[in-house]
């Protein structure tokens, strides 16, 4: 079966600095996949490449079997790639309802707007209560729900969530993840980025660990939980620098 999303040997970066050295990954229809990694590993850059906000230097991005390298960001929404970006980025001066409305701006989404509103408001009763509220006046957790809801309004085939737990209280993170699990039950394919390993591994089927712009490990959640690499990537017990220094110092102490 052709995967819904497939990245092969993707290299990308900003200006002259290469961030993604070599990323290959895939996601099947209906799958929930998480991208794990420490700060600066390239997680967000990967989501930017998939949503088209950043173009690749080399390698291929295929969506439903088609190479989408030449498809600009705004057209990818029409294809069904919807992103709830890092840091939420809701429109603070718009009401909740207006934020959702503009989430369904693309042609495909506009036709199914009423149905999507029902879906989002039943998934997030909190948003329904606050539909006339200015988004900027809501709490971080509510804004995160709004960002996810706004992405859902675009009729995604692939929903990308970039650090949905960023800056939220642990109690709120549980709420957000309960909702993501509820969305997953709708049969949507979800790719999400996390630093919060515990939260991520509770709902994902599979995961990839990114370190220094490369896939350092991948596997099912059970496999990842038992890999020492995951701990290393997050707790920084072995970063790239110390990795090379460690054998040397070990040798010194052995002598």
């Amino acid at each position: 079966m052709t995967p819904l999303l497939e990245l092969s040997n993707v290299r990308a970066g900003y200006g002259h600095s290469l961030v993604l050295q070599d990323i290959s990954m895939s996601l099947q229809e209906g799958e929930i996949v998480c991208l794990l990694g420490a700060n600066g590993a390239g997680k967000t850059t990967t989501t930017r490449v998939i949503s088209g906000l950043l173009s690749t230097w080399s390698g291929e991005v295929r969506f439903a079997g088609e190479n989408i390298a030449a498809v600009p960001a705004h057209r990818r929404v029409d294809l069904g790639i919807c992103l709830a970006p890092e840091g939420r980025q809701v429109f603070p001066n718009f009401t909740v309802h207006q934020n959702l409305l503009i989430g369904s701006y693309s042609k495909t989404a506009r036709r199914r707007r009423a149905e999507k509103f029902d879906q989002v408001y039943s998934l997030f009763p909190r948003l329904a209560e606050r539909r006339a509220q200015k988004a900027g006046l809501m709490s971080g957790g509510e804004q995160q729900m709004l960002a996810i809801g706004r992405a859902l309004m675009g009729c995604p085939r692939l929903l990308i969530l970039d650090e949905p737990s960023l800056g939220l209280a642990p109690k709120i993170i549980i709420d957000v993840y309960a909702t993501i699990a509820a969305i997953a039950k709708l049969g949507l394919s979800i790719l999400f980025v996390e630093q919060n390993v515990q939260a991520a591994l509770t709902i994902a089927h599979r995961g990839y660990v990114i370190a220094n712009g490369r896939i350092a490990a991948s596997g099912t959640t059970a496999e990842l939980q038992s890999t020492p690499l995951v701990q290393e990537a997050f707790l920084g017990t072995k970063t790239a620098g110390t990795d090379r220094a460690a054998p040397g110092s070990a040798r010194v102490s052995a002598h």
Partner: protein, 326 residues
């Protein structure tokens, strides 16, 4: 008094003023109305771009280009009045479109500087091409097709009303949301499937053509143009003072601001004209006072006052003008 009724009636009064003063007004009133209408066109046009997050520091570029387009068309080809104005519209739209394409993804201060440079560049070009533009000496309109002062005054009134209608139509359409989203966060709006360049190009073309139209009518009114007059920094500045004074990002704000700026300017000039520099000083102080005490502009002040009167100190929180529907 109902707020909706109040705003509709003020709009109707403004419309009648713009269109009927050329017919019935005294010469002084006709003159004031002409200048107000000219500023209304510029202010509303500036506000259209600002509403999409594009701050123009070069509205005189459009104004001047429109003036030259009209006078060149009339002098070289004997183009009649109305047709020459069409020339101004087209020239302004092309410049606006070009500006959007050149600036690409530039935002904020970078976009603003570019517009300033475009305006200065056009002024220099106008000086450097004396065979075409008359150079620094300027050009006089050959009055073969002069339609009469009445028609020119009426044309500015129609331009002002038309500009407001266009701004109103945009504020009613879904594009209004697209522009507001772009202003708030262009990256986020692109993630939702908006193509920012398309909307930028559209709004700069519309805004540019309207400002050019004002320049075109002004040329027929004054009969003369030169580079310093056409690409005057003063035009750029008044086209943004008016919307800021009246209420930026709103529909009626720029219009109220244009009326207020013209009237305050005239009052200080006439009242204090005999003391050197005093009129400008007082004009400036009034503007500073307005910005300090009416941060949401005249429109915001009126809305707050009406809220206060209807609620009599009820819990009406001041809402930023920006967030009001219109």
């Amino acid at each position: 008094m109902n707020m909706r009724f109040a705003s509709v009636s003020i709009w109707v009064v403004g419309l009648l003023f713009a269109l009927l003063t050329p017919v019935f007004g005294s010469p002084t009133m006709v003159d004031i109305t002409f200048r107000t209408c000219s500023l209304v066109v510029l202010a509303v046009s500036w506000n259209l771009m600002a509403s999409a997050g594009l701050i123009s520091l070069g509205h005189s570029a459009f104004f001047g280009l429109g003036g030259y387009a009209a006078i060149l068309a009339a002098n070289s080809a004997g183009t009649p009045f109305w047709l020459s104005l069409l020339g101004s519209l087209v020239a302004g739209a092309i410049l606006g479109l070009g500006l959007a394409l050149i600036t690409g993804k530039m935002r904020g201060i970078y976009f603003a500087i570019t517009t300033l440079a475009v305006s200065e560049g056009l002024r220099v070009i106008a000086v450097m091409l004396p065979d075409l533009t008359g150079g620094a000496k300027g050009a006089y309109l050959i009055p073969d097709n002069f339609p009469g002062a009445f028609t020119v005054n009426l044309a500015m009134g129609i331009a002002a009303v038309g500009t407001c209608l266009i701004a109103w139509a945009i504020s009613r359409s879904r594009y209004h949301f697209a522009f507001r989203a772009m202003r708030a966060n262009e990256g986020a709006s692109q993630m939702l499937g908006l193509y920012p360049l398309k909307y930028r190009a559209a709004i700069t073309a519309i805004s540019g053509s309207l400002a050019s139209l004002a320049g075109g009518v002004e040329v027929w009114h004054g009969g003369y143009i030169d580079p310093a007059l056409a690409f005057d920094l003063h035009i750029t500045i008044t086209s943004q003072i008016a919307p800021i004074l009246g209420g930026i990002y709103t529909l009626s704000g720029p219009v109220l601001g244009a009326v207020a700026t013209t009237l305050i300017g005239d009052a200080t000039r006439i009242g204090l004209g005999h003391i050197e520099g005093a009129s400008l000083l007082v004009f400036g102080l009034i503007l500073v006072g307005c910005v300090l005490y009416l941060p949401q502009g005249i429109r915001g002040g009126i809305v707050q006052f009406l809220d206060w009167r209807s609620g009599r100190g009820g819990a009406s929180m001041p809402v930023p003008a920006d967030t009001r529907p219109r």
